[in-house]
Symmetry: C2
Subunit: 367 residues, 2 copies
């Protein structure tokens, strides 16, 4: 079944208000997707994510493949059931983690050999294997296996990397199409299967990005991601690449910019026509005491908050801001208490999800 | 104002169903009190504690005195407001931690000099100072400053220790009575103040325990605790000491056994007439993967749970058992995820609080 993506409104600037109808959840877009690396959005329980209106969360294929293993998750009915999350899920392809986490790796046309960061054991990932793993995990959306081109990369390197990503996209798609019905919940969901997104690469070269987008569109994926951004490049370059690619992608399919970003970035990209974004920033920053607020970023570790009895963000209505003070959050951080990461993460996620909610509301009515 | 303690029913065996009317909460007893060492029940948010029907939690005077400091907490309106916990609170006297955590300490009749486990700084605690700190923290119930006699202790040592505890109890009470109106919320609560409990010591010597109880009762505290138990002695000795002391305590005041215990222990003591108990066990064990269930204790790290899709405890209706599987809890533990400590702690607290709820229900109707 083709991915249903219902455009509700589109603005002059390109921003789209839409519904993405996935097997487990109708996702209102533009959407921010919290990252649940190892089957948990770190320190935040599933019922809290639900109360925050998180509609879709990510799982990392690399992490889940290593532990507890995709075969175990398949036997238990897939990732939704394993982590008790009935709403939508998206898995990355494992490529990004293999390239960024694993010291020992060897790339060939066939795939990537790498060593586990957990126990040093040797593994080989190919596009076909990434699809098999992602089908076993059974997220609503799977991603093509790609090489995330590092930054900076010279033209030759970016071309070579793109060649690999395009060949792997083809192989990912072919294997996925042949096996998509093997997803654990296929029958249970009335013979609906997962959806596969292609990933646009090409480094910071506009023509390579164009070439990548056009070739992927020809292959006819269910949706399109723009990868290889937020890898250290200046922000105007990120924006330039997104602006270059968006017009080339079909209007009736979802567009996903991977791994972004700061609060103002996600708002800006959503207004340009990006439908989906994910980022570890709200949760990772939270664990280091960095809170995103309507008054800017604050580092809750600061001594000036020691007796600050105001809420973390006076303009925020989240369960943390309604109940706790900056002084208390600072104390939890100073004392190394587990609740610190939890409360900070809940607020930051509420802040990110709140931004997207407001953007959706404006996109709904704007011309 | 005297502490209101309304006996609703008492059984032949001594078990009491009562209401303890504290400034911040009417506590239904017998009650189990989760331990919130540094102003947080580790890894569990306050709204979750409320939904678990926790009526009263502990704060540790030693920890809060060192960080963030009792004066800061006083300036912020007391511990209830600082941690955003509107229900009842109890603080220990700091004595137990000073004796158990601090390597460098020197005891005299006047008090205890010790070094902070955080930064090695030197501090001096006297009964009067413990009262001042506890009044600044402003829990509903404060505890007299005592020496927790170690186990084993020979008779001479136990006598000497008891002599100190009794002298300190007198000084605690005198100082508390002179200053109780300084609690931060005194006016806000219609000129109600905190309540002070005395602590029965005496090692494992029945006559010393009797002497201790009788002398404390003469001093007329608001309630009585039995301390110095669960310090390594065999369980029948714990029971013997409790059985010795309970009949000597006034029937119309609450009785608190400190630092116990296993699930069957808290049930047993509640049926004998103990009204209040606290223990770190449910939360500490949880962080190490030990779950208390209707089928006994299970170590969730066990490989046999790797694909166990049953709930942690099939007979439990808590939010963890309703949603998650043993396999998922095991995975969170294996992966070192913060959510592991949170979910395990929630279940164990639900289990402990559930026991006491059932005990209360039976005590309500039994003869």
């Amino acid at each position: 079944m083709a991915l249903q993506f219902n455009l509700l409104n589109q603005t002059e600037a390109g921003g789209r208000r839409a519904q993405l109808i996935l097997p487990h959840q109708t996702v209102e877009t533009p959407v921010f997707m919290p990252v649940g690396t190892a089957g948990t959005v770190k320190a935040v329980a599933q019922d809290v994510l639900e109360s925050l209106d998180a509609q879709i969360i990510l799982g990392n294929t690399y992490h889940l493949y290593l532990r507890p293993g995709h075969e175990a998750i398949r036997r238990m009915g897939g990732l939704h059931r394993f982590i008790s999350w009935p709403r939508a899920l998206l898995t990355d392809s494992g490529g990004f983690q293999v390239f960024s986490l694993s010291q020992l790796r060897k790339v060939s046309d066939e795939g990537v050999r790498f060593r586990s960061h957990l126990d040093g054991s040797s593994h080989f990932f190919t596009p076909e294997h990434s699809m098999d793993v992602q089908i076993a995990l059974g997220a609503d959306i799977a991603m093509a296996f790609d090489e995330c081109t590092e930054y900076p990369a010279d033209r030759r390197r970016a071309e070579e990397s793109l060649r690999l990503t395009m060949a792997w996209a083809r192989r990912s798609l072919d294997h996925f199409r042949a096996h998509r019905e093997e997803v654990p919940w296929y029958r249970e969901k009335g013979c609906r299967a997962q959806h596969l997104f292609g990933i646009v690469q090409g480094g910071m070269y506009r023509d390579l990005r164009r070439e990548s987008a056009e070739r992927l569109v020809e292959m006819d994926f269910d949706g399109y991601a723009i990868g290889g951004l937020s890898v250290g490049e200046p922000r105007d370059l990120t924006l330039e690449m997104i602006s270059e690619v968006l017009p080339l992608l079909p209007n009736d399919k979802p567009r996903y910019v991977m791994g972004v970003g700061y609060p103002d970035e996600i708002e800006q990209y959503a207004r340009m026509g990006v439908d989906m974004m994910d980022c570890v920033l709200p949760t990772r920053a939270a664990r280091h005491g960095l809170l995103f607020t309507s008054e800017g970023r604050i580092n809750i570790k600061g001594k000036k908050y020691a007796e600050d009895q105001g809420p973390p963000d006076p303009a925020c209505d989240c369960m943390v801001c309604r109940r706790y003070t900056r002084a208390y959050l600072r104390h939890l951080m100073q004392a190394g208490e587990a609740l610190s990461g939890t409360l900070n993460s809940i607020h930051n996620l509420a802040y990110y999800l709140g931004i997207m909610k407001r953007v959706r509301s404006r996109l709904q009515t704007q011309d």
